[in-house]
Amino acid sequence: MGIINLAPKILDPIPGGKYVVNAIDYVVNWARANSIWPLTYGTSCCAIEMMSSSMARYDIARFGSEVFRSSPRQADLFILAGTITRRMAPAIQMLWEQIPGPKYVIAMGACTISGGPFIYDNYSVVRGAQNLIPVDVFVPGCPPRPEALFHGLLTLREKILKETCRNPWHEGEPKDVSTMDRYREAAKTWAALEEMKDEQMAEARAKFKEENPDYKSTFKPIRVKKPDFPEVERVPFKRLGLTQQELFAKLRAKFPNVTVHTRGEDTPEDVVAKMPADCPLEVMLEKEDYLNVVEFVKNDPEFKMDYLIDVTAIDYDDHFDMVTMLRSLEIGHKIFLCVQLKKDFSIEEEKRPTSLLASIPTISHLYPGAEIKEREVYDMFGIKFENHPDLRRIFLDKDFVGYPLRKDFTHPEMIRRPI
């Protein structure tokens, strides 16, 4: 590309050289605009639509772009398909740097244009690819259909055709729009305008009121009629295995401290009896009992909870509720073990958001699948799992500050939801 940009300098002084330069321009631009090889890159939903666009029905090959290169060094076009997270951002920048010039970028879908559905209350998504790399064409949609992507490709083609040797392709600059809150900005500017308008209109309005004291608007909005639907009673789904009462009674016989969530005057037994058939039994445990109960329900022939559905937690003001969801594949019943973990308030208040506030023994030696689930809970809530073989952060970088699913979590780049 260096050589071709020298062409005007060399050829212009020669008589007729201008026409040669124009001819070169024409041929090279024609080639560049019609042979756009995209990079195989995709993170989420948009990637599937990008793939669809190269498949038989839509066939991006018609534009000569079916040559999806998996190495950035042979690509011309970077279709940013899918959300960009902060963790992925350096990889994207590196990929873009590795594409030899002239290179073009299409931001496909709402996520890469502005953050899309992940603008507000989000700590991990980059709000728009423009923050990282210069973007040439924006294709809105969530995800855009393949035709929309082709329209983006045609738009890019027109943009490339405008380049010449004298006005060659040059690397653009990323633009910082990361803190942009379009909703609040629009509301703010409008409020200012409205204030001005109020001042200007005050007189006219007063005059209007004087002239038409019993003015009534002729505009009557018509409500859309919604069709009438019948009330339908919900039929609980079929359930296999022991009933909740049996499960609860058996568990309680072994561990008397076990209860369930109760409200008001109900005894635990009443609550369990009232449960709909398809509602899994959720029992409350003491932290000390946790490991024993899990071991018991796993090995007991009547329970046989051999399958771990999930481990998760819920953050409350002074405690975490850690829920371990177990199921018996053979018998079919489910049981959820909820452990209340008191937060460790001996830690100074400033340090609390960034430090582990509770701990519980791991069950990964009983259920190997629990290992990653517990890592997730550790990552999101800052609950320590004792004796866990590999307690690292799983979704976030190891130097990420704070635990996002706690209610008091803050992040410098997080924008609160306006409504």
Binding site: I3, V28, W30, A31, R32, D59, A61, R62, P100
Partner: protein
């Protein structure tokens, strides 16, 4: 002084005219030897140009053909928008690649890095020079044609190994090593098949191998020896596919596993050269198959004079290229149908299946000659 002969229609013309023009030179430097050397050099230049035109000219056609074939196999259209049915698409691709930025990755051995694609290109060019395109249309009519092809073909792997090693990338290195192992293995059965052809035709000269197939379609080596010829052809097809690193034997590139293998780190013109080399190898291998099995430049006569006379009116070059493109189409259909075996299975296939079958074939061929002819 020995000067190798070059046969092509212009060759005799040049050989006639060089001595006549030489008369204008001062008498002191006039000599028979000089004349023949000059004539040879001029001929050689013409030949080089011809080979380049055939190879480089057919590569874009093949790429276009590949894109269309794969598109139609996959129920789509392929390039449509540039020229009539996308005919100009590959030309645009080539021009674009020529004007792309070129750089080597940091830590790469620069010399080797840029040398590798050149080495890869050389082998198919040399092979192309040995192929007889028509009765008097061959660049170098060497008497040891087949051994030379075998020797030269082994050269291509060097370029791939160098390219993969000098890229300073683990994926490239893995790809290059895979391809090295693969090509060295398959070279053996490739050689064996060619030896089989040499054995039944009794010559290592490609021209005389072709001339041995004159007559009807049943005189072609593929049909002349019942069953054995066809098996040999299939084996040649398989081992040449592996030699070319084409799918389903493209474990060296293996886009899904190694993101491109040895050419992962190449861009712009060097990458275009790898890309071209792949297709030039395709055309030379097809030409070799045509020469050795499908009767070279002879038309597919069927023994009925009325039809045969019409077929013989078409020049041999046309038949030759028609057969080449048929072979290329076969290679493409195979490429777009089959999935890729794993690297160790590929080796197993070569050493446990292809090679034994080859040896049996050689013995059977020898027996056939001993008994039948």
């Amino acid at each position: 002084m020995f000067v190798p002969s070059v046969t092509h229609p212009i060759g005799d013309f040049v050989r006639d005219w060089v001595p006549r023009l030489a008369e204008y030179l001062p008498a002191s430097i006039q000599s028979e030897d000089l004349n023949s050397v000059v004539a040879f050099l001029i001929n050689a230049v013409i030949c080089i140009i011809a080979v380049c035109v055939v190879n480089i000219g057919s590569a874009p056609i093949l790429i276009y053909m590949e894109r269309k074939v794969c598109a139609h196999v996959q129920c789509r259209l392929g390039p449509m928008r540039l020229g009539w049915h996308g005919t100009l698409q590959t030309i645009a691709d080539v021009i674009k690649m020529l004007f792309k930025e070129v750089y080597a990755p940091s830590g790469a051995d620069k010399l080797m890095f840029y040398l590798a694609p050149l080495i890869v290109l050389i082998a198919p060019f040399i092979v192309c020079a040995l192929i007889p395109f028509d009765k008097n249309l061959v660049v170098a009519d060497v008497s040891m044609g087949i051994p030379l092809i075998i020797a030269v073909n082994g050269f291509g792997v060097l370029g791939i190994l160098l390219g993969g090693w000098s890229s300073n990338n683990k994926y490239s290195l893995l790809g290059a090593l895979r391809s090295g192992a693969q090509m060295i293995s398959y070279e053996i059965s490739f050689t064996m098949i060619l030896l089989f052809v040499v054995m039944i035709s009794g010559s290592t000269n490609l021209m005389s191998i072709t001339m041995g197939q004159e007559g009807t379609i049943f005189d072609w080596w593929i049909f002349k020896i019942p069953v054995l010829g066809f098996i040999a052809f299939i084996l040649f097809f398989i081992s040449s596919t592996a030699e070319m690193n084409r799918a389903p034997f493209d474990i060296a590139e293996a886009e899904q596993e190694l993101t491109g293998g040895y050419h992962t780190e190449y861009n712009g013109t060097p990458f275009a050269m790898f890309y071209l080399a792949e297709y030039i190898a395709l055309i030379t291998n097809s030409a070799l198959a045509t020469t050795c099995f499908l009767g070279g430049f002879f038309p597919p006569c069927i023994g009925i004079d009325a039809v045969d006379n019409v077929l013989k009116m078409v020049p041999g070059v046309v038949w030759f290229f028609a057969k080449i493109y048929f072979m290329v189409w076969c290679y493409m259909m195979v490429r777009w149908t089959f999935v890729r075996p794993r690297v160790d299975q590929l080796m197993d296939f070569e050493w446990k299946f292809l090679l034994p079958v080859n040896l049996v074939l050689l013995v059977a061929g020898a027996a056939f000659i001993a008994i039948g002819l």
